[in-house]
Amino acid sequence: MDFDLTAEQRTAQAGFRQWVEQHVVPVADANDNREQTPPDLIAKLAAPGYLGALVAKEYGGEGMDALTWGLLCEEVGRGSASLLSLLTVHGMVIQSIAKWGTAAQRARWLPVLATGETIGAFGLTEPNVGSDAKSIQSIAVAQPDGSYVLNAEKRWISFGASANLILVIAKVNEKPTGFLVERNMPGFSSEPIYGMLGFRSANIARLIMRDVIIPPENLVGKVGFGFSHIAGTALDHGRYCVGWGCVGLAQAALDASLSYSGERYQFDVTLNKHQLIQEMLAEMIVNVKAARMLNYHSAFLKDRGDPSLIMETSMAKYFASRVAAQVTNAAVQIHGANGCSSDYPVQRYYRDAKIMEIIEGSNQMQQIIIAKSGYQQHLVAKRAARRSSAIEGEGK
């Protein structure tokens, strides 16, 4: 087993780190206060090709491998969870179009998504429907000319206030279906949502679609596949990105804690000389490493296209988001009152980490599928053991 990054991946990682230090870290708290990611930061993210990281080279993107993409998500997550969520939702749209779009959709949308000329967002959640996504109430009605009339309300949509291409999941005759909704379509409007606990600069919005006419060429995949395949692809990507972003967020909290506890004196020694603080630091260090390893594993499976990547990514997201929540909590504790003030970023990390436990399938949803899958694996192992002992018996 090889845990080493290639020379190219190391160079890419160093570049991501430097970019985040230069462009994200200095403005992350101010954007959080302002509750907005300004367009110039999005343009800066587009300039080195990061918005097109997942787009194949033939469409003008970077065609990044899964691990390099994960490293980018980690670094951006270290700087700002809100900005990470742009990579997440923009990538969800890219992946859905790349996998399930028609040739015409790929040719039309992937190049402009790669440059950031078009910004993508993902609209699944509604005022009355979150975890139970199959029960969405948004409706699209097929018209004789092949178009659809969409009536939908989506809530908590990251970058919904500014994105111009939203992948919306709605039902056609009770069948979940994916549509590409363009901001300039008549009947579409958005309202920014302020005052969130975390992801405050994620340009979160409520989206309203009233009798929006969706041309047939904006249907993604086929009617009835919107949840299982279109959202399935998008959410797998989302969990992967968030899993890595959580490692970055936790690493930021850990770095801040190592630094602070080495400088702050109480009882005539620095905080890190107190064993109770050391216990916290040790837990943080080990948990961040463990979360990173789970993400490495899902990257490995993703690059191989292994079917088990779906469950392993769910586990990585689940674990990494819990670690982010625990580590950022400890980081605030180590910083004391300073950690509760806007002078230090750890309070932002703590608020953002809570969001990570809710998005891309809440952690309760992950627990349900992980436990079910674990039991299935147990039955498969039992069955295999029964079979091999039966074969051995026959041989005697």
Binding site: G101, K222, H229, G232, D236, P307, I369, L379, V380, R383
Partner: protein, 77 residues
């Protein structure tokens, strides 16, 4: 090397464990498998048989039963 049907059944067992399924039993309609299975099935078919499942293949008839999946794989080979 087993048959395509054996491979498909082998994959399916990971999700339905000890339940026996007829070749034309409707896997999705009967609620035997969940929506996460759908994407895992796509990945399995792609990886195992080196084929790409794309937009034009999104037809319930291609995935609904063991027989349907086997026929779909054969048609793409």
């Amino acid at each position: 090397m087993g048959t395509i049907e054996e491979a498909v059944r082998g994959f399916l067992w990971q999700f339905i464990s000890d339940q026996e399924v007829e070749g034309d039993h409707d896997l999705f309609g009967s609620g035997m498998v969940n929506s996460l299975f759908a994407m895992q099935l796509v990945l399995f078919v792609e990886k195992q048989y080196g084929i790409t499942v794309a937009n034009e293949d999104l037809d319930y008839e291609n995935f609904k039963s063991v027989n349907a999946i086997v026929a779909f794989i054969q048609s793409k080979q």
